[in-house]
Amino acid sequence: MTQDPNVEAQVAPTEVGANAAEAGDRAVMTEPHDAYSDHEVITPHAVDGHVASRLDPDAPAVLEVEDLKMYFPVKSSGLVRRTIGHVQAVDGISFQVPKGGSLGLVGESGCGKSTTGRLITRLYQPTGGSMMFEGQDLAKLSNREMKPLRRDVQMIFQDPYTSLNPRHTVGAIVGAPLAVHGVVPKNKILSRVQELLEVVGLNPEHYNRYPNEFSGGQRQRIGIARALTLNPKLLVADEPVSALDVSIQAQVINLLQDLQKEFDIAFLFIAHDLAVVRHFCPEVAVMYLGKIVEIADRETLYSKPYHPYTQALLSAVPDVKQAAIGGRRERIRLEGDVPSPINPPSGCRFRTRCSLAQEICAKVEPPLLQIGPRHKVACHFAGELGQHPVAPVTAGLLGVDDHGSPTSSGPAATPLTSGPGYEKEWFDVKSRQMTSGAAG
């Protein structure tokens, strides 16, 4: 076996099998060592030196998604099934994932984050937009052309109980990618499988067991091993820990971090748990009803969110520091339910539940505006909590008055950036001018 000794050092000891690994390597919940703000959250943080991942601002993008759309047709019942509408699961989102980095995608259930993940792995064919990966647009490739690229883009699934075929042995599951792509001669598959099992902290001797003999955490490790088999460059992790016990969550997150460092894998990390995302992702995008409402580096997003939805989400996170002194942070309660994605509200999609909503919000959709070096927000009244401006900040740029009616002057000359990346210049919300940050 060609086991890299470094890998063994990085991962929990595997000699006694994963059971022992899960019991012995139990992560300790401590304060995150990179505490940024009053939004103190419980972060899975292991004793063996697992710190929150850092952002490398100069890393080139491995994946650039632009204006990605996925509309699912809604068919009428009956003999002739006409399309009577579309579920706008994902409606024009743009973001980039840096090489070897990780972008977190958070939002409520049904906001389209899992659909986004499945679009990138091309389990769905997108309705529109582009997904540039290594110079190729994943959205436009045929299934045949996609096959070689599938080696580089892999997926970890949410539910470890349905993601493993109960009739296949662990060896068959983890070795399947090798067989499908024919990259390794048949007689070498077993040694590669055992190597992978060791990498993810499972006993390599268990390759001939069936998934039902493993616990949830162990099964998720098997799923991770399968995703790693082909040495992917990008891993879409669709809520990889939300089905697991909290103590196991920390281990799996740590494992993913180790793997990211070891193999330089970029992650699109989909989750609804803000604490987990905060630990894992230096950059976070918040989705609401098929759109990205705010995207920023972790420090900015968790300490100074500008979008009322992000503020509401963060206020729902339990606050350890405040609880310790007997206080409690004020919680922003959102009224009502998420509107139907078949017939979303006009203008801003969040306006039906937003305390700031005014006339303009119903008339004009707010663009995803860059308002900081690595911060974009889609809100007419973007501002820090409690300091939202009275007049819409976007009115001048969009060429509308404060009520959303078009003005004679037309839109401003400055192009509204909505591409996947960040520009050198951005719109400063306070001064309402383009700036590069040097002046202020």
């Binding site: 499945r118 389990l123 993601s163 007689n187």
Partner: protein, 307 residues
């Protein structure tokens, strides 16, 4: 090279050790359950008996089933003729033994054929969905709507008559294929649709597995259990359906010997010589019962929840 050899040695060791720990697959698990079920052993013994009868009737009797002694027609069971003689003076015991072949042949081929046809179309409709599903589904409904007896009468009278043993048997099997596949198709289709959304199927797609690979290695093995169970039960059902058709005179025809034909022949002497009806009917019931019992045992083993 030496490393490889070592690896293989280790592998063998592990195989042995994990077996002893009681690790087993779902199929092994089903077998484990089956082994403990007395119903399974009783039905299996009966089925083995009938199958041996079908393959080698000479083991059970030296009397020819076609040797007729008209003077001794309708004689009741005796030490010489264990089951007596029928209205034509044939030895009933010999004919019951020789009749097993036609029944088993029809049962096995009808059940296997419908299982294969239904499974293929079920996989196609369930996995492809959309237009394929709609077309196959409607066609299946047309066949499903045909009553068995009416359909069989129409098809069997339309087919050219023949004296060849296997042709006569095959005609009846063909009727069951045509009229029986929609049941299995529906079962398989719904089973496939249950398996398809599972993440392991999505994972296989994300890995770039071909549709063929996904269907054969993920969907089929996980969706086939109900088809196996129903087809086992159907074996018995087709045997009795064959007897029904033969009784009506449209299934197997003399000179072919089958339990259905014998029951049909016995009708004229039902009151004067009831044993002529009793013995073939008993064989038929026993065979049908054996297969249905086996089907039940298999179902319990594959799906313990439905018990």
């Amino acid at each position: 090279m030496t490393d490889d050899l070592k690896a293989f040695e280790v592998v063998d060791e592990r195989k042995g050790s994990s077996r002893s720990e009681g690790v087993r697959s779902l199929r092994a698990d089903a077998w484990h359950d089956l082994r403990r079920n007395p119903l399974f052993w009783i039905s299996a013994a009966l089925i083995v008996l009938f199958v041996v009868m079908a393959i080698a009737p000479g083991l059970f009797t030296n009397t020819s089933p076609r040797e007729t002694v008209l003077s001794e027609a309708r004689t009741p069971p005796s030490s010489e003729n264990w089951f007596g003689r029928d209205v034509q003076g044939y030895d009933l015991y010999a004919r019951c033994i020789y009749g097993a072949r036609a029944s088993i042949l029809v049962g096995v081929f009808a059940a296997a054929g419908t299982a294969i046809i239904g499974t293929i179309f079920g996989l196609l409709a369930g996995y492809a969905s959309g237009a394929t599903d709609a077309v196959v589904g409607r066609v299946a409904e047309i066949f499903f709507a045909l009553p068995l007896i009416l359909g069989a009468v129409v098809i069997l009278t339309a087919l050219p008559p023949s004296d060849e043993y296997f042709v006569i048997v095959f005609k009846v099997v063909l009727v069951f294929w045509i009229l029986g596949w929609p049941t299995i198709f529906r079962l398989m289709r719904s089973s496939v649709m249950q398996v398809r959304p599972n993440d392991y199927v999505q994972a296989a797609r994300a890995l770039g597995g071909s549709p063929w690979r996904i269907v054969t290695s993920h969907i089929l093995p996980n969706a086939i259990a109900p088809v196996i169970v129903v087809s086992t039960i159907n074996l018995g059902v087709y045997i009795s359906a064959e007897a029904t058709l033969s009784f009506l005179g449209i299934g197997l025809q003399p000179p072919t010997i089958s339990w259905g034909v014998m029951i049909s022949d016995a009708l004229v002497a039902m009151r004067s010589a009831p044993h002529v009806l009793l013995f073939p009917a008993a064989f038929l019931s026993l065979a049908v019962l054996a297969f249905i019992m086996l089907g039940d045992a298999v179902r319990d083993a594959f799906d313990p929840k439905s018990r």
